[in-house]
Symmetry: C2
């Protein structure tokens, strides 16, 4: 569904062909906000066309390159866009953190192996935190606040993650993951 939203959102600005949508999404870093794969993009476009939410405007043929099929949004598409967008604001579906599952089964694995991977991961996350903050700072003067919220949100989330990883790492090193009855050591 999120790919459909993106397609409709872009067509709200101007007519485009799918490949062009990808270029625009990359240009605006929308590919860092949602998963962008060509297969899904073309599939979303096909489905929208089949249901009349977008329509072919023109096919540009040229002897040397594949044809470009240009699409335009319809009224029904505009309605769907609003519906999908509001739905994303509304519904609060749980995001599953993959490592939580790993942690749930971690007692079957040698903690030393986990510790080693966590070290590397903490380093990466530290890097991400710094990068996210920089990206925020650099964009302050030039982008609308909606985009700043995205960027600062990313920074805060990665910082939360980093602190979590560090606490976890300490316990893994100390072989305490299996201990029962002791509260975590939390900073204020």
């Amino acid at each position: 569904m999120s790919m459909k939203l993106a397609v409709l959102g872009l067509l709200l600005e101007r007519d485009m062909h799918p490949y062009e949508m990808m270029l625009v999404m990359k240009d605006r870093a929308i590919d860092q906000i949602t998963k962008l794969q060509m297969g899904s993009l073309y599939y979303a476009v096909d489905q929208l066309a089949k249901n009349g939410q977008i329509a072919q405007v023109e096919i540009i043929r040229s002897s040397d390159r594949p044809d470009k099929t240009i699409y335009r949004i319809t009224d029904s598409g505009k309605a769907l866009f609003e519906q999908l967008l509001l739905q994303l604001f509304k519904k609060n579906d749980t995001l599953y953190h993959p490592m939580y599952l790993a942690l749930a089964f971690s007692r079957h694995i040698d903690p030393a192996k986990i510790a080693k991977l966590l070290e590397e991961r903490i380093r990466e996350t530290e890097h991400q935190v710094n990068l996210a903050y920089q990206v925020y700072e650099e964009h302050v003067p030039v982008v609308p606040r909606a985009a700043l919220h995205l960027m600062y949100g990313k920074y805060e989330h990665s910082l939360t993650e980093l602190n979590w990883l560090k606490r976890l790492y300490a316990d893994v090193r100390a072989h305490k993951l299996g201990d029962i009855g002791k509260p975590l050591e939390l900073k204020e």
Copy 2:
């Protein structure tokens, strides 16, 4: 892949049939850590069996109920378990927050509609934060620290989310999402 990990992790403890795996996962709240759907569970079991990572031990037939097919993990399955688990600790794949995408296209929508949904969402998130903290506190005396890390992580993440939503809400109300050149108002 995460469903395969869960299946292998459970079979590491004892032989089971798929429906029983679901019961155990629910009992241990693993269904709150990963998405649990019967279709995916049976699919994962089929794939693992096809590749020899688990094997049928017994089929319990009874005239009135469907057959129960009990599985046992193989050595190849144990190897896969370790590999999958370590992989989850290692790879740090971006989690896409669905609302970020909505925000990226929000300029096409009436802010009043967004504000209304955000109010409800903030209330829900507040509730989740409180609940997550309670769950952590209640489990301190009775579960291993690995589980506490999960619970406290959930609490912190939802708190981060709540603060983010509140800042966003203020801007939506003030029609400032489109403003350029002003840093966000951030608390220390």
